[in-house]
Amino acid sequence: MEIPQEALKTNKKLRSKKQANKLNRLLIYSLLISLSLLFIFPFLWMIFTAFKPENEAMAFPPSLLPKIWDWDNYKEVFEVVPFATFYKNSLLVAGLGTLGTVVSSSLVAYGFARIKAKGKGIWFALLLSTLMLPPQVTMIPVYVIWSKLGFVDTLVPLVLPAFLGNSYYIFLLRQFFRTIPKEVEESAYLDGANTFQIYWKLILPMSRASIITVTLLSFMGFWNDFMTPLIYLHSMEKYTLAIGVMQFQGALTVYWGPMMAASTLMLVPLIIIFFTGQKYFVQGIATQGNKG
């Protein structure tokens, strides 16, 4: 039987398309792998340097892997500075701060989401405008306030404001609360529930994913915060990890090994949090940029 011309032409097209696809995929993979190596490399450098004695860390030409796996740097980190105290302070600030943020932000978010009120529009507009306010405008006067109250060099200015809500997370949660069908709440009202019960026993359980996202993002924010601790914390026992990790950068010498060890130690909890809560991270960060 003769194969019609059309079929031959289509076959050729299909084959070349398949080849193009294979080439495409090869290209994509090679790009991905080479870029990934570039992105991972600094991590590896940090982790491996933490195991090198100082002369090896400063050796030229540098080598990636340490010759011997020396744990001395990690020991030094805890001996030269009160690193355990830094850790405790960071955990305290991040833990309490996150608690305050989540509790207050979700409460306020529900108010904005489902409670009609006079003047609500104005307050919401103000909320949105604070999202774009540079914090430096309020930095100095807020410091003056805390100073007059005697709370400079304590962890209070770092933690207390969290209990008054965070505009960013209030907005995020409000957007999510509004996606819960109104009928669900109306039905609860008909059953005799009051607003707080609805918020506590209905809305919150249904919003688990968003709340977890806010918890994770908030914790990370507190953990990484540098400027606020820099401004308020003056004595070493009050330092958080963000400031503590810089102690190895002296005016004249830098202690690279311990510095990298300290940085790795600061990073570890975040990596753990990220991998356990991975899906919440991506979902939460991704949704906030999408719709208005």
Binding site: W45, F60, M139, I140, Y199, M266, F274, A286
Partner: protein, 319 residues
Amino acid sequence: MHAFVKAAVFTMDGIRQRVRKEYRMLSKNRTKLFYMFTFPWIAGFILLTAGPMLYSLYLSFTDSTGFGAPQWIGLENYQKMFTEDPLFWKSMGNTLFYTLLSVPLSLVTGYLLAVLLNAKVKMIGIFRTIFYLPSIVPTVATSLLWTLIFQPNFGIANAVLDFFGLPTSMWLLSEQMVKPTLVIMSLWGIGGGMVIYLASLQEVPVTLYEAAELDGASTWNKFWNITVPITSPVIFFQLIMGLIGSLQVFTQAYVVSSGTGGPNYQSMFYVFYLYQQGFRFFNQGYGSALAWVLFVIVLVLTVFIFKFVGKQVYYEAGD
């Protein structure tokens, strides 16, 4: 309550039968209740935002140093700032340079990375994680790490350049290179923006691409005329946030220069200068004036961008 939660979630029809079309409680004005729920934030707004903003405006017209009573000096701070303070202009210039370099670069590379990571290949999830991970590293740690990498004498950056016979650099210790180096450092963190672009890319209807392919559209055509316009709201959002963020760059510069803003004030960004004035030298009045100038700049810039770039953003009908 537990049983009623189940009922609410699983029998929407039953609920709709009970609740009439016009919602009851949720359409009533419950003003007092609203203020009860939102009072933490409103209190915070008054005590930590609005109040301090007004106070800082007042301080900017004084010579307050945190010691002794502040004296009213009118516009003297602003006058000094614009005419007698070279560091004001230097720090502003530094910040603008950094912003103009890093914002477009981060935007483009982050977006293209997202396009690459949108590919449907096996194990793409692992790659996405690899690119996202650097963005969760604390800025302090990142800065210290890159200080090591860019160390002129034994850092890996110069080692690699030297290996290929290429010219080496003083990187963060060079007056010309310190800001570009900071921009390079910031690119390690594009994973954060990439994730946002990725989510948006995944919402572009595949049917649009299919229709375009039927019309013979090239890859570039599809990208420029479908992908970019449909994801433009997210790009716009990232542009604004990126702009506002880089105008406030501080931590990296502080860590990398060991708090000096050097070499020769080349890494003294605006907020860095503000911090130095307000919290090192305790020129609280002057610092407040600097803060208000920043605020006005950000405000004007944001309005400007909304007006001009905002027009280019494509919105789905009925969005």
